[in-house]
């Protein structure tokens, strides 16, 4: 049987071109995914920093003091004593 070299070479070239195109497309897809994941990591990191800041603020004495002031748990809220009760007693 006579080997048809032209057909074999043609077939190989076709396979190479097809696989090259395939790898190229996969590469683009992969790099796109890397880009998306990079952005996600960056976003998560930013969110972590924001949350850490928020938690530490809510746990701080500064916040507790401001809340206490808002709710009236401060020295100014102590009772005021009446001094001249005798007038009230007389009446």
């Amino acid at each position: 049987m006579k080997i048809n070299f032209k057909k074999i070479v043609g077939f190989l070239i076709f396979i190479f071109i097809a696989s090259k195109i395939c790898f190229f497309v996969l590469g683009i897809k992969l790099s796109e995914e890397i880009k998306v994941l990079d952005n996600k990591i960056k976003k998560v990191h930013q969110e972590n920093i924001e949350l850490e800041k928020e938690i530490s603020f809510l746990d701080s004495y500064q916040y507790a003091a401001s809340q206490a002031a808002d709710l009236g748990f401060i020295k100014e809220a102590q009772p005021i004593y009446l001094e001249n009760l005798k007038y009230a007693l007389k009446n």
């Binding site: 790099s31 796109e32 930013q46 924001e50 850490e52 530490s56 746990d59």
Partner: protein, 552 residues
């Protein structure tokens, strides 16, 4: 033949299309992003290490801020843009216009913008406005530990650098190592997988866990602020430490500054007086000389001294603080009534050579080695410059200059069993893969355990039988000593200007906490017994509750 011509024309058209596309991309910049580069190289900045207190409460964290900039060449109608920005940035239009220069490519407009402000501006979709992400320090407790922590500023190259306190001392550990990325990217900014992709991750700065307790720091600061107000003092410091290890539990000096807005304060506020300011300690120095004399067997606790009247040394006369003399008094009584003449007697017993030896042993001629930036050493004159009066006055803490941290370190050594310890504020350095625990460091032994016990008893008696009775917490044994030192001004002492102090410890038998309080120029009374001492007991009362100490 026509087939070849057809093929030629086909390839020619194909090449022309490629050339035309390249021309569009390279000359007219279609698709191109603003800062597009085929080979992108970028320095990856590490995140600065965080700082926590001993209970792992954050004292310093990082936050993301944005710098907003303008690209004048891309801006079309600046008046409308400035009007919109004016409301959001709260910068008036005139200021924005003053910054604007059509000839420039890049103009920074507003720094320290938060995420919300950034998104508000982005919603406007204005061409020619950009943002640069920046990391900045965040202090959940604001200025609670300003002097202790220091702050992060810029060096001459515009890079972040820690100044003062922990930030300055541990700058190298906190900074970390920058990383590096080199990446070949396509026209849409996607990495080319078969191209060069090199990335070295940055090594973030190490986190620090301090020996400081946030609650004790809060107590100390609150009480000191009240003390300054009540006693009309110019400034003051409170140091709280564990005397057996010299781990600093709190260190506060007032007035201080806001580390977040440090640039609004003058440089005078940045210096930490607890480690950088020298003062004449006065009577709180007496127990050190007493301890030295006991250690050298020059006196015994049951010895007596005949306190008859003032002592003359050359042209100088040394008196007791109230110019009253009790006659025969014990060594303990010398401390109880803070007798200057009694201390001169002990100094003479100790001898000049021993006196200088112990001043050096207590570390007054060297740095304590505390891990805070900005510490200065105390000052001892060269031996040939010591006169008889100097040997006499130093026994009651005048004529010698020490820092508050030196004073508390030396004092801790006489009550903790006799060991001079290195004071420290960082207990653990945490990196991504390991924890480095810093252990207490003994510098040298000064007195033995027996003499330390005697001194503790003497100081407990000094509190219980002192000249002034304070509002002490009932049922607790507290040891301590008052001090009132006149401030030297132009070579003379001004009797109206004093540094009032109190140093004490609790529980007296096995001290767990030592506290030093100093008040500069108190206005209500010059005496330590009437200003610093009540403040000390106010702090101790809160610490007893916090540590849940039971009465003895």
């Amino acid at each position: 033949m026509w087939k070849i011509k057809l093929l030629f024309i086909f390839f020619l058209i194909l090449y022309l299309i490629v050339i035309a596309k390249l021309f569009l991309i390279q000359v007219f910049n279609i698709y191109r992003k603003d800062n597009f580069l085929y080979l992108q190289s970028k320095k990856l900045m590490p995140e600065r290490g965080k700082i926590y207190d001993r209970q792992n409460n954050p004292l310093v964290l990082n936050q993301i801020n944005y710098l907003m900039y303008l690209e004048p060449k891309k801006i079309e109608n600046k008046d409308i843009i400035f009007k919109k920005l004016e409301a959001i940035l709260k910068i008036d239009k005139a200021s924005l216009e003053a910054k604007f220069d059509r000839e420039k490519y890049w103009i920074p407009v507003a720094d320290r913008l938060d995420k919300e402000t950034k998104s508000e501006i982005e919603k406007l979709k204005i061409k020619g406005i950009g943002f640069e992400e920046k990391m900045r320090r965040y202090y959940p407790e604001a200025s609670l530990s300003a002097h202790l922590l220091g702050f992060v500023g810029k060096n001459k190259d515009g890079e972040d650098i820690g100044y003062f306190g922990v930030e300055g001392f541990y700058n190298k550990e906190l900074t970390g190592l920058p990383g590096f990325i080199q990446s070949e990217k396509d026209i849409l900014g996607r990495p080319i997988m078969i191209g060069l992709q090199e990335k070295v991750e940055p090594e973030n700065g190490r986190d620090l866990i301090l020996t400081v307790d946030k609650t004790i720091q809060e107590i100390a600061k609150k009480k000191l602020a009240e003390g300054l107000k009540n006693y009309k003092a110019k400034s003051g410091c409170v140091i709280v430490a564990d005397p057996s290890t010299m781990a600093i539990l709190a260190l506060v000096c007032l007035p201080d500054y806001d580390p977040d807005n440090y640039y609004l304060f003058s440089e005078n506020y940045f210096k930490n007086p607890a480690i950088s300011d020298l003062f004449e300690p006065g009577s709180i120095f007496k127990p050190l000389i007493m301890a030295a004399a006991l250690q050298e067997n020059k006196i015994k606790p049951d010895d007596f001294y005949n306190e008859q009247g003032p002592i003359n040394i050359g042209e100088y006369q040394i008196r007791t603080w109230d110019n009253k003399y009790e006659g025969k008094i014990s060594m303990t009584r010398i401390l109880e009534r803070s007798s200057n003449v009694g201390m001169v007697f002990i100094g003479e017993k100790l001898g000049k050579k021993n006196l200088l030896k112990y001043l050096n042993k207590f570390g007054f001629n060297e740095l304590t080695g505390i891990d805070l930036q900005g510490e200065v050493s105390g000052f001892l004159k060269p031996v040939d410059q010591w006169y008889s009066i100097d040997y006499a006055t130093v026994t009651f803490g005048q004529g010698i200059a020490v820092t508050p941290i030196q004073m508390i370190t030396a004092f801790a050594s006489i009550i903790n069993g006799g060991n001079l310890m290195r004071p420290y504020v960082v207990s653990t350095i945490v990196s991504s893969d390991k924890k480095n625990v810093i252990k207490p460091k003994k510098i040298r032994e000064i007195i033995n355990e027996k003499n330390s016990l005697i001194i503790r008893k003497m100081l407990t008696s000094a509190v219980e039988n002192g000249e002034v009775s304070w509002a002490r917490p009932k049922g607790y044994k507290i040891g301590g000593k008052t001090g009132t030192a006149q401030i030297p001004i132009k070579g003379r002492y001004d009797p109206s200007k004093t540094i009032a102090s109190f140093i004490g410890f609790i529980p007296a038998d096995q001290p767990k906490i030592i506290v030093l309080v100093t008040l500069k120029e108190p206005g209500t009374s010059p005496w330590g017994s009437e200003t610093a001492a009540p403040l000390f007991f106010e702090i101790i009362k809160e610490l007893i509750l916090y540590y849940n100490l039971v009465p003895e």
